[in-house]
Symmetry: C2
Subunit: 214 residues, 2 copies
């Protein structure tokens, strides 16, 4: 087994270290963040840091790096108070990846990569038409992470769109049925195969597979 300690990690060159350290946390969520400026310019950015924060109230969070193109996204969110989250599927993960290219501020990533902006229920921020699970969020708060200048953005979930057929009777969504992908490192993608759901863990009994939330 290879072992690197802090001294050895710090000696790695920055590109190698970025590939490596981005890999160690495991598989990540893979979503497109849709925003719109007050002038009406739409922006679309892939990100792998979306995090469940709470169910009641329904809150999500994501991390923005201090200096990236995604500051467009943050500026838009601060201007309009809204953003959308759109799950990436294996049918369009290449287009999703391409949103990371440094397009000019006035160019829309939607047109540039070949995805379709969709406006639903009077929400100002654009959804991705090709995405089968999409969330409309309002900005709640942000936290500056002093350790490296990143920003954790907290959003409240206000709209959820998804195909009813992927939902178990107890609310769980079988994301495998819409080919949602997962992100690896900075540039890797994988398509998960569902292993199953396990029963509520209790001392003294072993977890079993449960079916459809029964």
């Amino acid at each position: 087994m290879a072992h690197l300690d802090l001294q050895e990690i710090e000696k790695l060159n920055s590109r190698y270290r970025a590939n490596f350290i981005n890999s160690i946390t495991g598989y990540k969520s893979c979503n497109l963040l849709g925003t719109r400026s007050s002038e009406g310019n739409s922006n679309l950015a892939i990100f792998s840091s979306l995090l469940h924060i709470g169910s009641s109230p329904a809150l999500i969070g994501f991390v923005l790096r201090p200096l990236t193109v995604r500051r467009d996204s943050f500026n838009n969110i601060k201007q309009t108070g809204q953003f959308t989250v759109n799950q990436v599927s294996s049918e369009f993960f290449k287009q999703a990846h391409q949103t990371a290219a440094k397009y000019k501020e006035e160019d829309s990533e939607f047109e540039a990569v070949g995805l379709t902006a969709q406006y639903l229920d009077d929400f100002k921020a654009p959804y991705v038409k090709e995405s089968q699970l999409k969330i409309g969020c309002t900005y709640k708060n942000h936290y500056l992470l002093e350790e490296n200048g990143c920003i954790l953005v907290i959003g409240a979930v206000e709209h959820i769109y998804f195909p009813q057929a992927i939902q178990d009777p107890d609310g769980f969504l079988e994301l495998n049925k819409i080919n949602t992908v997962t992100a690896m490192g900075q540039d890797g993608y994988a398509l998960p195969a569902f292993l199953g759901r396990l029963s509520y863990a209790r001392p003294g009994s072993e977890p079993n597979f449960i079916e459809h939330g029964s």
Copy 2:
């Protein structure tokens, strides 16, 4: 397509809503958090909120809910300043799930679920011997998320252990080669199949698959 707005989301009963809202962010990382109290009691807890925070310095973060058994983990981290992160593979995801059972404070989840505590390089917190990718971290900081009382814990990566054979020449780790699983919702698991890595996105060119970081 089903659509729920905020009013409808708030009307859902709490168990259904927890299953549902925990599903919408997509696939999650799946790791075991190993800690030890100053009295020497070891603790092991599954968690799906591990997040990449930065590569330089190498930082990770995770979210603790306000009132869970995992407060044992947080108390231990505050006492010793150390914790380990251990990727869960398909070989032991049932044992990993079982760590969520409410064992007594003095009982070790390692023994209760049948995983092996391993102490490496004088680190006080226990690793999971069965895990093939493990990280030794020191506590750096935490942020109270005012929106729901959750805590974001920030840790510095000080040790990384992994099989050299899964690493591409440019640092990327092929997690599929060690059967790392990904978490879905509150109780689902999936095993990702690697689709590949895509080339650096640039305006005007389409992303292609790259091989082994070349």
